[in-house]
């Protein structure tokens, strides 16, 4: 199923914890060579999907492949995938130096120079215990471990969620520099679309473990429009214009539509959308009684 161009591919993937399904029937392909943002509301299965991709979880149903193999199938497969888990876990009792030593001893492709340079640049004290680092420093240390492993695919699960805006910017900047230098694929989950807009060139919106929309960020921005005009039934739009979300007052309708062509109807005031607007349009529940979500699929 997977081709060389697909770095992560899931088919009918499902994961159940005792009686609760955290992910059901998830089918998706993530192309190689991109920084892919994984967005979705809480409970959409983002963390479960990333844990499955990292091999921390085993699927209950379906299959998942990363870098052309089953996750965590062996040391070689593990070496191909880096993972910065949620809350960026590190060993509180081990120093920064110990963590670098750990990375060097447990990873055959370890890039010691990269690790040391990053730590120096960040100004981290090598003898500092990880438990005494700030949240941002700890996240940077975890990212350093993930980068110096020199993976083909780096998975990051909400890495900046707990960071202040400055630390968040520094973290993402560091990530972008490394991607530019070493050219590996990244899948990054976040519920902060503004952060994703800065770093991602590919987007995947997951709702109820289904892919709601996926595509290149600039293409998504170019094909989505906000239409504002006198109230009308969204079903009366011309073919080729798919309604993503709609809201109406008594006199006015506001629609988010996806279309490859231009908007010709002069009744509409056409507005541009930010990536956040596009994502929110896909996440927001439809207006009462409107089958717009069906249309969007």
């Amino acid at each position: 199923m997977s081709t060389v161009d697909t770095i992560l591919s899931a088919r009918g993937l499902g994961k159940r914890y005792r009686r609760r399904w955290a992910l059901t029937d998830c089918t998706l392909d993530i192309p190689a060579g991109h920084v892919t943002g994984l967005v979705g509301p809480n409970g959409a299965g983002k963390t479960t999907l990333l844990n499955l991709a990292a091999g921390l979880l085993a699927p209950t149903t379906g299959t998942i492949e990363v870098c052309g193999g089953r996750p965590a199938a062996g040391p070689d497969q593990l070496a191909k995938v880096g993972y910065v888990a949620q809350d960026t876990p590190t060993y509180p009792g081990l120093s920064v130096r110990d963590h670098l030593e750990l990375g060097a001893r447990l990873n055959p492709r370890w890039d010691a120079a990269l690790a040391r340079n990053r730590i120096d640049r960040l100004g981290l004290d090598l003898s500092q215990k990880a438990g005494r680092l700030s949240g941002g420093q700890r996240a940077q240390l975890a990212l350093t471990l993930g980068l110096a492993k020199r993976p083909e695919l780096l998975l990051l699960d909400e890495p900046v969620a707990s960071l202040d805006p400055l630390a968040r910017r520094e973290f993402l900047q560091g990530l972008m520099e490394a991607v530019a230098e070493h050219g590996f694929s990244v899948v990054l989950s976040s519920h902060l679309v503004a952060d994703l807009e800065r770093v991602c060139d590919h987007l995947l919106v997951l709702v109820d473990s289904r892919v709601r929309v996926t595509g290149q960020v600039d293409e998504l921005l170019a094909t989505h429009h906000r239409l504002t005009g006198p109230r009308r039934d969204p079903a009366s739009l011309p073919a080729g214009q798919r309604v993503v979300s709609a809201s109406s007052t008594d006199v006015q309708s506001t629609l988010v539509v996806r279309t490859d062509g231009p908007i010709l109807d002069p009744a509409w005031a056409v507005g541009a959308l930010s990536l956040e607007d596009v994502v929110l349009a896909y996440l927001s529940p439809a207006e009462v009684g409107r089958p717009t979500l069906e249309v969007a699929r």
Partner: protein
């Protein structure tokens, strides 16, 4: 992986090493005096010696429990609790190797700790264990439950078992403190249950029926203070160091009875009173007691002894070590299966 495991384990290992060294020094200082004693050495023991004998038992009883709780239980549980397993399991090392290294190192540490402690205590107590004496100065024989656990090789098996138990419990429970408590509770239960229900049957015990007489009688017990309290007798085996499992009187038809016939209760002399002339009273009592026992034997009463001879000490040590080794192996296998398949 060994580097990381050792880095995580070294504080506990250092604590164990300090404890072992302290115990070994104390025993090494006091041991030679006991080894040099001649004659009835039990009469020459000082209070310090007796205290050390008990302390050795306590230390060897507590050490495996501590190893299980502080070395075994947090081994996997703390990683799962802190989420650091997500860091460890996404390096280029499989989960199986991760656990094998950590568990292996912990087991070696436990075995070494218990091995040195047991060797030191066994060496220290060897002159006492080897001495022949009817009363043994009230110290237990080395084959009887409390002392048996603190000699030879079984302490090593206990240490290994406790750690394997702690790791398995920790992997399932996923909380360090809860895993420590459960490990302690289960371990204490096992150490109490094994001498009662398992060890006596590791080798079929010897059954022996002896005639009651002055040379075999061990004691006469009156149960209660009433006018005619029930009376039982107990006998002893040839070697007073044997581990007697049961000591019952059989009536002429061969059935076990829990009180002797009522005439015997009248026959035996009353307990000596402090006012009377002790020596004369004792001689008279002995004479009449012999007559009572003779009548008991003549009527067909016998004493049945079930016991493990003191000579089986090492056979029982090996057998029990085997049992704990198998149990530890099963727990380790379970931990691997659980961590690889179930921890998700």
């Amino acid at each position: 992986m060994i580097w990381l495991s050792w880095r995580q384990l070294r504080i506990q290992a250092a604590a164990a090493a300090v404890g072992v060294a302290a115990a070994a020094i104390v025993l090494a200082v006091t041991g030679p005096r006991i080894a040099g004693l001649t004659g009835n050495i039990f009469d020459q023991l000082t209070n310090t010696d007796r205290w050390l004998y008990s302390a050795g038992i306590v230390v060897l009883a507590v050490a495996p429990a501590l190893l299980g709780a502080f070395l075994g239980a947090p081994l996997v549980a703390r990683e799962l609790e802190a989420g650091t397993h997500r860091l460890a399991w996404t390096q280029s090392v499989t989960r199986g190797r991760w656990l094998a290294t950590k568990l292996g190192l912990a087991l070696v540490t436990a075995a070494a700790t218990m091995g040195v402690l047991a060797l030191a205590v066994t060496w220290w107590a060897d002159p006492l264990d080897a001495a022949q004496s009817d009363t043994r100065g009230s110290l237990p024989s080395r084959i009887t439950p409390v002392a048996f656990d603190m000699r030879g090789i079984v302490p090593v098996a206990y240490g290994v078992f406790a750690v394997a138990l702690g790791v398995a419990v920790g992997a399932v429970v996923r909380r360090s403190v809860a895993a420590m408590a459960i490990t302690l509770a289960v371990y204490v239960f096992v150490t109490v249950a094994v001498p009662i229900w398992v060890r006596p049957h590791l080798i079929p015990p010897v059954r022996q029926t002896v005639a009651l007489g002055n040379d075999t009688i061990d004691g006469i017990t009156m149960h209660g203070d009433g006018p005619t309290p029930p009376v039982t007798v107990s006998a002893h085996t040839v070697d007073p160091a044997d581990w007697v499992l049961s000591n019952t009187t059989l009536d002429p038809s061969g059935r076990a009875i829990d009180r002797l016939p009522s005439w015997f209760e009248q026959c035996i002399p009353p307990p000596p009173s402090p006012a009377a002339d002790q020596q004369r009273q004792a001689a008279a009592a002995r004479g009449s007691l012999d007559a009572c026992l003779k009548r008991l034997s003549d009527e067909g009463y016998r004493q049945q002894l079930v016991y493990q001879p003191a000579s089986r000490f090492w056979s029982l040590q090996w057998a029990e070590t085997g049992v704990f080794a198998v149990a530890s192996g099963l727990l380790a296998w379970f931990s691997f299966w659980w961590v690889r398949r179930r921890v998700t």
